[in-house]
Amino acid sequence: MKNEGKALLSSGKHQHGKRILLHFAHRGEARVFLEELAVHPVSFPVKGLYENERFLVVISGEGRQNTTETLAAAISYAGMQISEVLNLGVAGSLHYDLKLNRIVSVRTVYGAIDNRVEFKTFTSVDDAAEIDCISTSRRILEKEDAEPLSYFAQIVDRELWACASVCKRFNIPFRSLKMISDRAGEQALCADIAEDALRYSHALFNHFKKLAHQEEPENERIELPDGFYATVAQKRQLTSLLQAVVVKEKRSAKHLPDFLPIDDILKSEKHPKKRTIRLIHELRDYLNPFRRRLEESLKPIFEPLRGNDIRVSPARDYETNALGISFTVENEDELDRKCAALKSFDYVAYREILSGEVMSVNGKSKPAKGEDSQAN
């Protein structure tokens, strides 16, 4: 059998204190889980809720409304401390090449109310899954009803769409393991399926157990080295910059410290806050070398202003030619000096740089006004 349901429970391990919620429509399918996981019933207004340290088990009853109400209540009961929802149960096959009794992991779930297919779909976190499911608002008893559903998915159930929709609302990842119990539209008696429920429950539990023991990947975390101090905003900024370095360099976050100029910064900057600012700067330059080029090109143009304590603030990301200029004066001399500096400021050169016209391949900008003047 294919390894359906890759890396199950991976999110459970590294989200401390969070539990995995197992969702069933029918008690029969849940039976082996209730016994083997030794979960105990929870006294809660909504019936069908069980728990232990690692798991919550919820039995919702059949269909969309039961699922929505019960699952939402269970998640609220857990105070949102759910790392993942795993929907387990049986499904009918819509494609003849799917063998009965096979357990499949669901990729995308579609929804249909009566004959109308819902636009919203939900995709599980199992990126190895290849089977799609469509959840219908009523049982599919006729072949004619099954056929149009087969355009969208290979299997059909009654609950998964609602389950996934609740998960989306609570921002909790979901996955689903389905055992193929019958061929949709072939009038399988519910009684037959119910009789087989214990067999399904055993099979699903065995599958679940195997997957639960699989090796779980370590979550990579990006840590700030010792000797640096970052505010919350800086930490956020650093995380996204370092993430971009990981992507650009195609290396693991673990190897980032060897790559970053940490020692240089530690040696040349004494203050932990300044070190962080410098690190952010270096990372930005590394990720966007053009920015440094641009800043170097603008430096001589801004120099007459900055050299005279006049602040310049370009538009955000230089999206427009607008340039904020501000200064204070305390006496007439200062005013004269600043006015002279303003006069010498080459706004045209500034605008041209922003239009990309004056920067050459080697990164040198056009000299600022006056520098290359040959006028008599």
Partner: protein, 342 residues
Amino acid sequence: MKFKTLFVEEAVADDPQTLRIIDAFPKASVNYISKVEDVFGRARKPYLQKRTSLNLFIGRKEGNLLKVAPDAYGLAGEPHFYFIHAYNCVYECEYCYLQGYFKSPDLVFFVNHDEIIAEMEAATLQVPDGQHIWFHAGEFSDCLALSHITCEWENYWPFFARYPQAKLELRTKSVNIKVIRKLGPLDNVIVSFSLSPDIALKLHDRGTPSLSARMKAIQQLVEDGFQIGLHFDPMIYRENFEADYEILTEDVVRIIPAEQLAYVSLGVVRFSRDVFLEFERNYPDSELLAAEFTRSFDGKVRYTRPHRMYMLRQVEKICHEKGIAPHKVYLCMENESEKQLS
């Protein structure tokens, strides 16, 4: 190319092109439906499922068959229209705007080319003497990638042979030129290739033919006498990208004689907000995500303005230096509403 299932509109079930396409996929199951929209795009299908479970729809295009193209589509001053003969694409360029567009990556082929051509004729007859009118294909798909199966271009050739004032642009990244080579060159049919430096193409144009394969295809078409258009679009920044574009431009100038090079368009990578979100979701490891983008004046996600303008100017300069006539080089500039395809 494998399709799991073909969906065929009942109204075009007997169309010769439909039958030819069905024949090309003997293993796929065929379902007959009343309208493409009954299934296609009815429910959101994740984009990357194009890798494993792609369906093919065959139908009739309804509504406006010709649409006025945005200015950035071509050299200014002449009327430009695009027409839609297909939806979606077999390739997977990371920046492609289709990933946010149809809510399904399944392919749709329209087979009512006679109706499209009738509209083209009506539009062409309104153009004053001495003026050109342009028709662009490839707005929502690659024009040639599956042309050996669809064989639609044979419908269009007689029209363009009859109306030299009407120009056709076939935009592609594919090297599937067998069918159009058989049809032969027409002065008013321009086959346009999107090209990027080799490294950018390897990193971002997933599943597309290599640069050398595209160059070879261009060379063959040139030898046959075809007019060639080039799109250096989207340009993606790398340190020393100027050197990469010098090599690329040198190569194209060597292969394409000036009289067969119709135009070169330049554009810098850009995304609508929705496409950018899809791109982030679909390609979280893309090197492109390490770049610094900003939400620009029109809400699109781009490099900062000095950055993108610098790239455009530099590559424009390279084109001129390598001998491409300035009037043949146009920039997909600001204020554009253009997209990046093929």
